[in-house]
């Protein structure tokens, strides 16, 4: 049996942790650069603000309803996420981290969980709330897809109080019938209209659709989802997450960028950061993609373009990755536009230790490798941005830096940003 533990409105809950006065107030968290709404407390959801809504469209409404707005504070979210995982591991040995706020728990080997799954999940829920302050919802089922569906019910139906156990066999049908096809794990919004046209409107409909027919009309993926809804495992429990298939570093600019120099700085910086992540995972990339785009919401002339480069030998070197990213930029850059976003994506990743080297460059490679290791170590010890390439420009002069006007303190990772506690009896300062 699988259990899926999902933190409720995770980023918003993190922002509330050290600010108890926000417990019953609406809280919204914005994406990098304060672009869109990426987390909403239940009060904000009730206002009808959709996930991903552009902030500038909601700003007036937020002010009117007194919504507390935060820029994303990833150091905080990452730290709290780790605490949640650690708490889960104190009760369940096999925890598979699925995302920053979701984890699959493998509970087959735990007799108390098998005897009373609902009671066990409620215990987990209470402990996570007590230890970390984060409310979670837990759904269980005989497959991951069913656990995911159960979690959805646990989160939405107040009567569940955060825990829902999906019954086996036909007992599940009444619940699956209430879940829209677009909300089934693995279906996604893109395929949902096609399913609906074919008369498959709910999770239950998909469960009772013929597999062969699905394979013909869709792909093996949809057939598997149907099988999982029938309680047959296609996605087994995997303790270690698969290595990433790609690394993406992209950002919206604080101010629109109109000159190629600034764009070059930004792209250099993204390339540097992507290469750093690549080396951190012991990988090398075979392909590099670069994209630039103007504001899709703006009234100014729009332009977007992308270019790719395939490396002869997979690489993780700053010089090569930055150089190729800049060469791609030259190919797609067009003057006279106000650029809003750019990004570097490294794909076709391979294990760096398996890379076949060119015969004549062994000595050069070794020296490059030492240089890369030294840069990574210095940046780790002295803080991010201590060492950078000249093409990245000087911080502070970077007009393309992130806009984060509402960011909260890094409460758990910086000595000078710890939460403050008032002495007993003192009146609160306003």
């Amino acid at each position: 049996m699988f259990a899926l533990c999902d933190c409720n409105n995770f980023y918003a809950s993190c922002e509330r942790l050290f600010r108890p006065e926000l417990a019953s107030r609406p809280v919204a968290v914005l994406s990098n650069n304060d672009g869109c709404v990426i987390a909403r407390s239940s009060e904000v959801k009730a206002l009808g603000v959709p996930m991903g809504a552009p902030y500038f469209k909601e700003e007036g409404r937020f002010r009117h309803f007194g919504v507390e707005v935060f820029s994303s504070n990833y150091p905080l979210y990452e730290n709290i996420s780790r605490r949640v995982t650690e708490t889960l591991r104190s009760m369940v040995p096999d925890v598979e981290i699925y995302s920053i706020d979701e984890a699959f728990l493998h509970v087959d080997t735990l007799p108390p969980a098998m005897a009373d799954p609902g009671g066990f999940c409620r215990e987990i829920r209470e402990r996570v709330l007590r230890w970390t302050g984060i409310p979670v919802s837990i759904g269980t089922g005989s497959t991951k897809t069913l656990a995911k569906a159960a979690n959805r019910i646990a989160k939405r139906d107040p009567a569940c109080d955060g825990v829902f156990v999906m019954p086996d066999g036909k007992g599940a049908d009444v619940h699956l019938g209430s879940i829209d096809i677009g909300d089934v794990w693995g279906v996604g919004f893109r395929n949902a209209p096609k399913f609906r046209r074919l008369g498959i409107r709910t999770a239950k409909d998909l469960k009772y659709t013929d597999e062969e027919w699905l394979k013909q009309r869709f792909t093996i993926g949809e057939a598997r989802t149907s099988r999982e809804l029938n309680g047959r495992i296609c996605f087994p429990f995997a303790e270690t997450p698969k290595p990433r298939k790609s690394i993406r570093v992209s950002r919206s600019f604080g101010e629109p960028v109109t000159d190629v120099h600034t764009l070059r700085e930004a792209v250099s910086s993204f390339a540097f950061s992507a290469a750093e992540t690549l080396r951190g995972e012991g990988s090398a990339a075979s392909k590099l993609h670069l994209f630039i785009t103007t504001n899709p919401f703006g009234r100014e002339p729009r332009y977007a373009n992308a270019a790719s480069f395939r490396f002869d030998v997979p690489t993780c070197r700053n010089t090569e990755i930055t150089g190729r990213a800049l060469a791609c930029l030259e190919r797609v850059y067009s003057g006279g536009y106000a650029y809003k976003k750019a990004g570097v994506i490294l794909t076709d990743l391979v294990d760096a230790s398996n890379v076949q080297r060119h015969l004549y460059s062994v000595e050069r490679d070794r020296r490059e490798e030492t240089l890369m290791k030294t840069i990574d170590r210095l940046n780790l010890e002295l803080g991010r941005g201590a060492i950078f390439t000249a093409s990245m420009g000087i911080e502070g002069r970077r007009s393309w830096g992130m806009r984060r006007g509402h960011v909260s303190p890094r409460y758990t990772t910086h000595w000078d940003e710890l939460p403050a506690v008032l002495p007993p009896g003192e009146a609160p300062k306003q």
Binding site: R83, A420, L422, P423
Partner: protein, 102 residues
């Protein structure tokens, strides 16, 4: 320095090697539930000064006569567990002060 020498004889102390003391093991018993905070004022009865670091654990119960962090008027505040109080956020398990001019 590694205690296992690569030349000469292995040290007789090797089997007795122990981990050096780590303050975390003294101050923190549950990493997942322990948060560090800073006192915004002094509390003479507890020898707490403004700026002291408080080690706050959410997983243990407050003992009578102990010190806790509670939510009071929507703010985090210290509370001596002698009387009934506001909802408990966590228990203060240790107080840390680094002497700047020591």
């Amino acid at each position: 320095m590694s205690s296992r020498s690569t030349t000469g004889f292995p040290s007789h102390a090797d089997p007795f090697r122990e981990e050096p003391l780590d303050l975390n093991s003294l101050l923190i018993s549950n990493r997942a539930s322990t948060f560090l905070m800073r006192s915004a004022g002094s509390i003479p009865g507890w020898s707490i000064e403004e700026g002291d670091i408080l080690v706050v654990d959410r997983s243990c119960d407050v003992r009578r006569g102990g010190l806790a962090v509670v939510t009071r008027d929507g703010r985090l505040a210290l509370w001596e567990a002698t009387r009934d109080g506001a909802p408990v956020w966590g228990t203060v398990r240790a107080i840390v002060r680094v002497l700047r001019h020591g």
